[in-house]
């Protein structure tokens, strides 16, 4: 083969490069307009009775996780991670709150039992909270700082490194 004809196969490299670059981006990570804004307040009726008001958690770092019991596999992957995170960080001033949306109560209770979840969890029966937070699918997770501002939004399953990194960063900030 004459080397001058090498351009024929090489001509596809730019396109391949562009597609490879595509792996580094996430088309779903559309920046949420809520990031940097105060978190919309809500009162959550918990599954094990009682209620939780977001305003009462001011001064703490809050991880708000929207989930559903039918959400395979992402919610199943992140549930143990969230529970582990709750056990590790609750003494340092972090709260993990689960909000169950578009679900049956029976399925949700079974899910909580299956993973032995101990952090506060409650349903969002009218979808009011998920609408306020612009939730598009499950799971979605919001990170709220000590001042009650949304600092980050994550779409898809939360991984242990991600949770640790975000929590450490937010916990270091002064109240």
């Amino acid at each position: 083969m004459s080397w001058r004809r090498l351009w024929i196969p090489l001509s596809v490299l730019p396109l391949l490069g562009l597609l490879a670059y595509g792996f580094r981006t996430d088309p779903r990570a559309v920046p949420s307009p809520l990031v940097g804004r105060p978190a919309p307040p809500f009162t959550l009726t918990l599954f094990d009775d009682g209620a939780l008001r977001l305003d009462d958690l001011r001064g703490k770092v809050v991880v708000l996780n929207f989930w559903a019991s039918w959400c395979y596999p992402a919610c199943y992957e992140e549930a143990p991670v969230l529970e582990e995170g709750w056990r590790t960080y609750q003494d340092r001033g972090a709260v993990i709150v689960g909000i169950d949306i578009q679900d049956t109560e029976e399925g949700a209770r079974r899910f909580i039992e299956q993973f032995g979840l101990t952090f506060p969890n409650g349903p969002d029966p009218r979808g009011k909270i998920s609408i306020d937070y612009g939730v598009y699918g499950v799971p979605e997770t919001f990170f709220i700082d000590r001042q009650g501002r949304i600092r980050a939004k994550h779409v898809g399953a939360v991984t242990a490194p991600l949770l640790r990194e975000r929590l450490e960063a937010l916990l270091e900030e002064p109240a």
């Binding site: 083969m1 004809r5 024929i8 792996f23 981006t25 088309p27 559903a68 395979y72 596999p73 949306i101």
Partner: protein
């Protein structure tokens, strides 16, 4: 246990494919028939093993084996029986099984047909096909195993994507995949030719029927996809230039170009490199489509599938492109075309234009599809490219292609004479112009619509004119009119099969024009007992009904519909509420007719059933699109008939 057997079947098939690729290639290079025969056995084994894997997966679906992740993700206990079977191809992993099984099936046909007939090329063809299967089997083993276990085992599954619970979704993927995989065979023959350095027209004549059939399946896949979108998605349209649609449309465009340009090579031995490029492009685009929609690099609706599958596909696309294009560059010396263009007014030149336009649209669509990525890479800005861009660029080109469709089959090879042009085109041009004028006088003022109507009439007239002249010649030889027509169509089945397919395309073009240009829509809220008028229809809202289905809750609005002449009866558009979906799914109600469809979608409603929003649409000529599909089917059947006489 069952999933483990399935996984084992796939793993063994992978081993066989790897072995068969090596054995086939070695057997071909060293001329060892025994090795080739052994590769052949591997191909048979792969087919059987994949069939077993597929049946096991179906079994897992039917028995609600939620320990299998793929089953848990795509069914739940409420999923109706048939959809538990079709859930097999409801998502990526199972689709790959079906895809690869089809590829194995095609490979068996290649074994059956060409083992003796194409002795020289056959071993290489077999090796290439097995190599491609090896890739898909690798994907099924490592990043996207359909038999992957789920732990802990859920009590109930997530359920099939409700949009897929539809007859369109039973057939659409089958046709699409038959089309996609079908192009692998001509690609393999092209590669075999390049490897051997025997670059005559053999690979094109051998694979002509394959190409036509693959093209047909892909066309039907696209049309059925449009029909599904039309009657399931509830927005009244059938095509949205979504990346997923574009992904299937691009290989169709290059395949259409290929179908036409091979005729030039057969007749005039021109465009050799070009044809090889087109088949390489078509095959790569079928892979690219899967890559695009499954890798998650371009936004597509609700898929949380991230993983390494995209990287596998990209690596394979890179391999295919670099390998095949390097081969092409290596063999370029032997690929000098023999004919050259004699005149600009000739069939060759029309076919060149045809190819230029098809490939032009392909690159436009490709650009529009990957532009969001390009923009983010270069400027760091997220953008989306939508319908206006695609329509603005492609509509003029499609109109030009329709025009060429009328000219190409009639104009003379090499050099057209003025007398010949007049003989072939005088009447059709007059009919097209007169038709446009009649529609203008009837009140059609939309320039684009008039242009399309005129062009369609022109093209149809060229075909009728040509067929009539052929028939008349045979009638002079003493045949009756029906006998003469049948004789003509069967003896020149390639030519007239092509004509019939073209007529089908014209019908599709008319349907698209009618529904895009003249569609009327109204969206309004109605109190119970209130009526609205849309076009010549009156719609009255009678109330709401609700029903609990096996896996969803269905709310329907009851409407009585009348047109200006008579009462048409009740129509009940609804909304389906699936527990696992954020958004309710539309249940469209529509009445189809030759002239137009009347289409109702239920919007929001009050819980007491006193108030409902309804979207009412009158979509003219939509059913002509589907009719076009039927005509294309008939034409393809005629095209692939074994010809009685070997001519074009």
């Amino acid at each position: 246990m069952i999933p483990e057997i399935g996984f084992a079947a796939i793993t063994v098939a992978l081993a066989l494919a790897c072995y068969g690729t090596g054995a086939g290639a070695l057997g071909a290079a060293r001329h060892r028939p025994a090795l080739v025969a052994s590769a052949q056995h591997a191909a048979v084994g792969i087919f059987v093993l994949l069939a077993v894997a597929m049946l096991l997966l179906v079994y897992a679906f039917l028995t609600f084996d939620f320990s299998v992740r793929y089953v848990a993700s795509n069914t739940n206990r409420g999923t109706p029986f048939y959809y538990r079977i079709t859930a097999l191809w409801g998502a990526l992993e199972g689709s790959l099984v079906l895809w690869t099984w089809m590829l194995a099936g095609y490979t068996l046909l290649v074994v059956a047909f060409y083992r003796w007939r194409q002795r020289e090329a056959y071993p290489w063809v077999l090796a290439v096909l097995l190599g491609i299967m090896a890739f898909f089997l690798l994907v099924m083993t490592v990043p996207a195993s359909p038999f992957q276990r789920l732990d802990p085992i859920p009590v109930d599954g997530r359920g099939l994507n409700p949009l897929l619970e539809d007859t369109g979704m039973i057939t659409h993927p089958i046709f699409l995949y038959l089309g996609f995989t079908g192009f692998t065979v001509p690609f393999a023959f092209a590669m075999a030719g390049l490897i051997r350095g025997r670059l005559d027209e053999a690979w094109i004549t051998v694979t002509r029927r394959w190409t036509v059939l693959a093209w047909y399946f892909l066309s039907m896949g696209l049309l059925i996809g449009g029909w599904w979108s039309y009657h399931v998605l509830g927005w009244g349209g059938y095509w949205a230039w979504d990346p997923v649609e574009n992904a299937a449309f691009m290989p169709w465009l290059t395949a259409t170009a290929f179908l036409h340009s091979v005729m030039i090579q057969e007749r005039r031995r021109m465009l050799k490199v070009w044809n090889l490029l087109l088949i390489i492009l078509t095959f790569s685009l079928t892979l690219f489509g899967t890559f695009l929609t499954r890798s998650g690099i371009i936004a597509s609706v609700h898929s949380f599938t991230q993983g390494t599958i995209g990287a596998f596909f990209l690596a394979f696309i890179a391999l295919v492109l670099l390998f095949s294009l390097s081969l092409l560059a290596w063999r370029a010396d032997r690929l000098r075309g023999q004919g050259e263009l004699d005149s600009l007014i000739s069939r060759e030149s029309v076919f060149h234009l045809n190819n230029f336009f098809h490939v032009g649209v392909t690159f436009t669509v490709l650009l529009g599809t990957v532009f969001p990525l390009l923009s983010e890479a270069v400027r760091g800005v997220k953008v989306s490219v939508g319908e206006p861009f695609f329509n603005a660029v492609s509509i003029p080109i499609f109109l030009a292609l329709i025009f060429l469709m009328g000219v190409g089959p009639m104009i003379a090879w090499r050099r057209a004479s003025w007398a010949g042009l007049k003989r072939n085109f005088l009447w059709p041009v007059a009919i097209g112009a007169a038709g446009a004028l009649v529609f203008f006088l009837l009140g059609v003022r939309h320039a684009l619509a008039l242009l399309t109507l005129g062009l369609v009439l022109f093209v149809a007239a060229t075909m009728v004119h040509d067929f009539w002249r052929g028939t008349r010649a045979r009638m002079r030889a003493g045949r009756g009119p029906v006998g003469a027509m049948a004789d003509l169509a069967l003896r020149q089945n390639r030519r007239y099969g092509g004509f019939v397919v073209h007529q089908g395309v014209l019908l599709v073009a008319l349907g698209i024009t009618g529904s895009q240009v003249f569609s009327v829509r109204t969206e309004t809220s109605l109190r119970r007992g209130e009526s609205i008028e849309v076009g010549r229809y009156q719609v009255r809202f009678e109330g709401l009904e609700a029903e609990e289905k096996s896996n969803h809750f269905l709310v329907t609005g009851v409407f009585t519909v009348a047109n200006d002449r008579h009462v048409m009866g009740r129509m009940s558009p609804g909304k389906k509420f699936y527990p696992q979906e954020q958004q309710p799914i539309a249940h469209v109600a529509y009445r189809s007719g030759w002239r137009e469809d009347f289409y109702l979608v239920l919007g929001d409603f009050s819980r007491d059933g006193q108030l409902a929003t309804v979207l009412a649409m009158v979509n003219p000529l939509v059913s002509w699109i589907w009719l076009g599909g039927v005509v294309i089917t008939l034409g393809t059947a005629l095209l692939v008939l074994p010809g009685r006489r070997r001519d074009a």
